[in-house]
Amino acid sequence: MEIDVKHLEALAKVQLSADEEQVMEKDLRSILEHVKRLFELDVNDVPPTFGSGDIFGVDLDEDIPREGLKRDLILVGAPSIHDVFFKVPRESGASRDEEGKDRS
């Protein structure tokens, strides 16, 4: 079983230290080993269940505007703002591989 922890970190945007990566790989490996029992069952003809509900067909709401949240209320909890905008650092032009090298 190939578990590429670095690839998963990049997909999930979760940075781990080298030590954490090792533990993570070990943990994932043992969980997936346990989960392997699912391969015992032949389920190709069984339809999947994606939800638990008894709902047939999602309810559709009428197209009538309603009051949302006051801007001050949402900006006050933001990690960083500029004027009336949420502020985030820019994208870097560097590729992911280069970024990886910077990691401690």
């Binding site: 690839h7 969980i31 939800g51 638990s52 509900g53 990690p79 870097s92 970024e99």
Partner: protein, 506 residues
């Protein structure tokens, strides 16, 4: 007797007859919290000023002769993954440490309407991921029965608060057992409703297709009361059912004669503690004596439920938790560019178990693995549902212990995720099938070293939307065995007070 020592039903009737005020009730609980919270650590935040204002409002209504709703000033604790407008909602995570919810969850709004007074937000495993409440970024909650043991999880704070007498009622959420397992560990009553009966709007999602909000109480009646207040269709949750909820408290009394109860053999194969097993057999005898037809049955795919759950729940979680990105709210790590801001924020903001599940779910959904893991698990989920459907053609309820063992020790399983996951082996199948299930204290086991008694829970599983049947069975059994249990709870609470007096903490 202090108010906090009374049953919820007694308190409510004294409130309605205006022999005591909501403020007196609140004071009693705040006092109790001051007394034992330093030992138990059930709360992340006690909302004293807000609660006082709410209690005063209810009292004013009672004086004016207005109906403050079915809860009429009863205090209630909320798991910290439920949005209460103006209060912090941290999900016991660093990433949401200072997030103040700007809106009410639907269940919270409904409790407000019924006159509930919110005592505070309770501790939990971070984002409801865990079975011990040790995965809280703000420290673990202790089991009031033995402070060296876990209260279970993830709703450990709510369960411990009710068990310790720090709240008569509490709400939790249950994705794979997060209400029932801590209820079992703390000797409280906890109900996971049918998927869709209670709106999830305002519950911070862990695994959307499995999550349900449900009540904790000191009796079956408490659970029925709290469920009555929160159940019912909510247009804000597209998965909420249009089925009419029931006045559950009014239909609790019922003879169990002729009721058919199935005991799935597979449930008893999961390394059940012999003492729990023995206690369970005894309960089956009591039920038989009450006229219940108890039969063993088989749900062949049940042994696959835990693995199925540990594919589906992390998959959904990996997507549900993507919104914690440091952009709009919550914690943000400082970083020179966007990519590293994301990676560091999420790497530092989430705890170990959450990161583990995000990675596991990301793996199960990723290109090349989706069919083998996520899709396969979704197909097996169908088989598990069908197994339950077949069983419910023959039986009105299914019975099992809620957990294989009584509460384990703090730190005992935290380093071994799989042994921790096994704590949910008896509860997880119910979530996969979307069924209602109650955990009620059904007996005690004696632990080795100190000879302390620890409660274990009975799990009563019902057909979809058959909460009434589940509660009736629980209520009838409670009439039979509840007195002994309540006596032990009283002793435990007194022990706790004494411990506090002897060993002042912090």
């Amino acid at each position: 007797m202090e108010i906090w020592e009374m049953s919820t039903k007694e308190i409510l009737s004294l409130l309605k007859s205006r022999e005591i005020t909501a403020q007196e009730v609140l004071d009693s609980y705040l006092c109790r919290i001051t007394e034992v919270e330093p030992l138990v650590r059930a709360y992340l935040e006690v909302l004293e000023p807000e609660a006082r204002a709410e209690a005063a409002k209810v009292d004013a209504m009672l004086i004016r002769g207005e109906d403050p709703g079915i809860l009429s000033g009863l205090p209630c604790a909320l798991k910290d993954n439920l949005a209460l407008k103006g209060a912090r909602c941290t999900c016991a995570s660093k990433i949401l440490e200072n997030w103040v919810a700007p809106y009410d969850a639907t269940c919270v709004a409904r409790l407000k309407k019924q006159g509930a007074v919110f005592l505070g937000k309770t501790n939990m495993d971070e984002f409801a991921m865990g079975s011990s409440t040790e995965n809280s970024a703000f420290g673990p909650t202790k089991n009031p029965w033995d402070l060296e043991r876990v209260p279970g999880g993830s709703s450990g704070g709510s369960a411990a608060a009710v068990a310790a007498g720090m709240a008569p009622l509490a709400l939790g959420s249950d994705t794979g057992g997060s209400i029932r397992q801590p209820a079992s560990f703390t000797g409280t009553y906890g109900l996971k409703p049918t998927y869709g009966l209670v709106s999830r709007y305002g519950l911070v999602a862990f695994a959307s297709s499995l999550d349900q909000i449900g009540p904790f109480g000191q009796s079956v009646w408490d659970c029925a009361l709290l469920l009555e207040a929160i159940a019912g269709y909510d247009p804000l949750d597209s998965t909420s059912s249009r089925k009419e909820p029931f006045p559950y408290t009014k239909h609790l009394e019922s003879s169990l004669r002729g009721l058919r109860a199935g005991v799935p053999g597979e449930f008893l194969g999961f390394g059940i503690d012999p003492d729990v097993r023995e206690g369970f057999e005894k309960i089956l005898e009591i039920l038989s004596d009450m006229g219940v037809i108890v039969e063993e049955t088989s749900l062949p795919t049940l042994p696959y439920a835990l693995d199925t759950y540990y594919v589906i729940a992390p998959s959904e979680a990996s997507s549900n938790l993507a919104r914690f990105d440091g952009v709009r709210y919550g914690f943000r790590a400082s970083a020179p560019n966007l990519e590293s801001m994301y990676q560091k924020t999420r790497g530092e903001g989430f705890g170990r178990e959450v990161r583990r599940r995000i990675m596991l779910g990301t793996f199960a959904l990723s290109a090349g693995y989706y069919d083998a893991y996520y899709l396969r698990a979704a197909r097996i989920r169908t088989l598990i549902r069908r197994d339950f459907e077949n069983a419910f053609e023959k039986f009105d309820v299914l019975l099992s212990p809620t957990t294989p063992t009584a509460a384990f020790k703090l730190g005992e399983k935290i380093e071994d995720p799989i042994s921790m996951y096994l704590a949910d082996v008896l509860t997880v199948p119910v979530n996969l099938a979307g069924l209602p299930a109650l955990s009620m204290p059904a007996g005690f086991v004696i632990t080795g070293e100190k000879g302390k008694e620890l409660p274990w829970g009975l799990q009563i599983i019902g057909k979809p939307f058959a909460e009434t049947t589940v509660l009736q069975v629980g209520n009838a059994l409670e009439q039979e065995i509840g007195k002994e249990i309540n006596d032990k709870i009283r002793d435990m609470r007194r022990d706790l007070t004494r411990t506090r007096e002897c060993e002042p903490v912090d």
